[in-house]
Amino acid sequence: MDMIVCIKQIPDPETPASAFKVDEAAKKVIPAQGTQPVVSPFDLQAAEAALRVKEQLGSGTIHVLSVGPAGAAQAIKQVLAMGADDGFLISGPGLDDPDAYATAQVIAAAAKKIGNVDAIFMGRQAADWDEGVVPMGVAELLGWPQVTVAKAVTAADGRLRVERVLQDGFETVEVITPAVVTISNELGDPRYPKLQQIMMAGRKPLAQWTAADLGLDAGQLQSRMELERLYVPVVESQVEVIEGESPAEMAANLARRLREARII
């Protein structure tokens, strides 16, 4: 089975709220000092899902693909170290900060150019904009079925069997390939590459393409939504810390305050 794993390099989503800043004029996030960009967490789980399918089958190829700035090569190398076979970095004019619409166009075109792809694994949503749009866009542009928010994927005679997480439970589906599958955190932790794998990753092939290489013009890379404002909502702390000599007394005081405030 030939698989593509799509990954996005993003500012660390674990950045505490206190260190999170926005340049409102530029409508951009200012990366917190001393933090490094990371691979969006669900994308590492997408890589893990693809690696498990390859191990299950005992054969197959995993391509890692990222659309973004030149620095995203680092993110690709991280997934090559986990065990993927080769990488594709698609960057250049118009692609430093593409929106979901443009990104889906690029990924769909790249998948066609790579050719013979049976499955594309993506994260359920990128942990910067928290949208979850690109995968369905890619599926639509390629005319493939989609299965989203998966916690387990296995291969079975040209199909994928996928366990999905629903808001009120789980479901198991079977999808005919080629297909797009998105992965959620319920899959479990992605593997850590060993030191030797990290060193070897540098020697794996990494192709660099531009949008023009994929036959895409500027019109296809235009966003469909205009970002009018980006800001940090103001929240003021008005907490009343409950006093007490002992935790038991605090508990009693809390119960009393809740009653006084007519909350219970």
Partner: protein, 328 residues
């Protein structure tokens, strides 16, 4: 669509009723058309949905588009898409609204690409002046983004509890139209083999007026027993942080937050939950937050109305006892 006007709501039906979020979308749709003009349409897709068409009208729909067929269930994007497309073609709306649910998350982006338009996911505010504006959280809830569609119809999923439903009015008038599109079940590329729905004992998390949530600081699944007791005394439901769900201490269907459930109860008690922005994204609309945390600097403590800074193990037994006395 040059003359795009009005709103099309893609509704959801569960256990034979419109979901609460569907009624919220209809309320939002009504308020939008009051300013922008046009009608509120409501698409209902499923095996037996025509029975709730009148409810959709009572909650604000002018036209209900019914796509009724057993083959629409369980949901699959490729089965629902042609029905949604047909309804969009009939209604020619300025906005298509879906809920931020398992279905909305999966369907809305695909529908947007099929229509060649943009989409705003997990929208918390919809405004209209001379054009539409959507506000949504981004960066794990640390930022807010306001977006305007460049072409119509704009597709948006809407976060639960962000919009108010109307009081249902059974005297409202409306019409029902039938959607012809049917899924070609024999050509389905995605087949649902089975579903396993979480058991809900007592009140549903989304609907609960009191929610008691546990986090990683509980130290193990046992901690949730005390939370269940506390929830029982308060007549509430139990939620969990993602960290607690990932550790297998509580089922993912109880996860509160960005990728889980959104709640806005009268009382939210967060026990040993740090209050990461992605968690706050699912509960910051709560009217009163109580934090029980041993760290006075925890974000949840700062966001709370009342906080007890102590080890939860020493607080919960007395709290349960005191509340029992008060409620007796």
């Amino acid at each position: 669509m040059a003359d795009a006007q009005g709103v099309l709501v893609v509704g959801e039906v569960a256990d034979g009723n419109l979901t609460g979020l569907t009624t919220e979308l209809l309320g939002a749709g009504r308020r939008l058309v009051e300013k922008a003009g046009g009608k509120v349409g409501c698409l209902l897709v499923g095996a037996a949905v025509s029975g709730v068409a009148n409810d959709a009208i009572a909650y604000g729909a002018d036209v209900v588009y019914v796509a009724e067929d057993g083959a629409f269930e369980p949901y699959a994007a490729e089965a629902w898409l042609p029905a949604a497309q047909e309804a969009a073609a009939k209604a020619s709306p300025a906005a298509v609204l879906l809920g931020q649910t398992s279905i909305g998350r999966d369907l809305a982006p695909r529908l947007a690409f099929r229509l060649g338009v943009g989409v705003s996911m997990d929208t918390v505010a919809i405004e209209y002046d001379s054009k539409l504006h959507f506000t949504r959280a981004a960066y794990g809830g640390n930022a807010r983004a306001q977006l305007a569609p460049k072409s119509l119809p704009a597709v948006a999923t809407v976060k639960g509890k962000s919009q108010d439903p109307l009081e249902p009015d059974s005297g409202r008038g409306g019409t029902v139209e039938h959607i012809a599109a049917r899924p070609a079940a024999d050509q389905a590329r995605v087949k649902v083999l089975g579903q396993e729905k979480a058991k809900v004992e007592g009140v549903r998390l989304e609907d609960a007026d009191v929610v008691v949530t546990g986090g990683r600081g509980l130290g193990g699944p046992e901690g949730f027993q005390a939370l269940e007791e506390l929830a029982a005394v308060l007549g509430g439901a139990v939620g969990a942080s993602r960290a607690a769900c990932d550790l297998g201490w509580y089922p993912p269907s109880a996860q509160v937050g960005l990728t889980g459930v959104t709640v806005s109860p009268t009382l939210y008690v967060a026990v040993a939950v740090s209050g990461a922005s992605q968690h706050m994204a699912g509960m910051s609309g709560s009217k009163n937050i109580v934090a029980i945390n041993k760290d006075p600097e925890a974000n949840m403590v700062k966001a709370a109305r009342f906080a007890v800074v102590a080890d939860f193990k020493q607080v919960l037994p007395s709290l349960i006892e005191e509340l029992r006395k008060l409620r007796a």
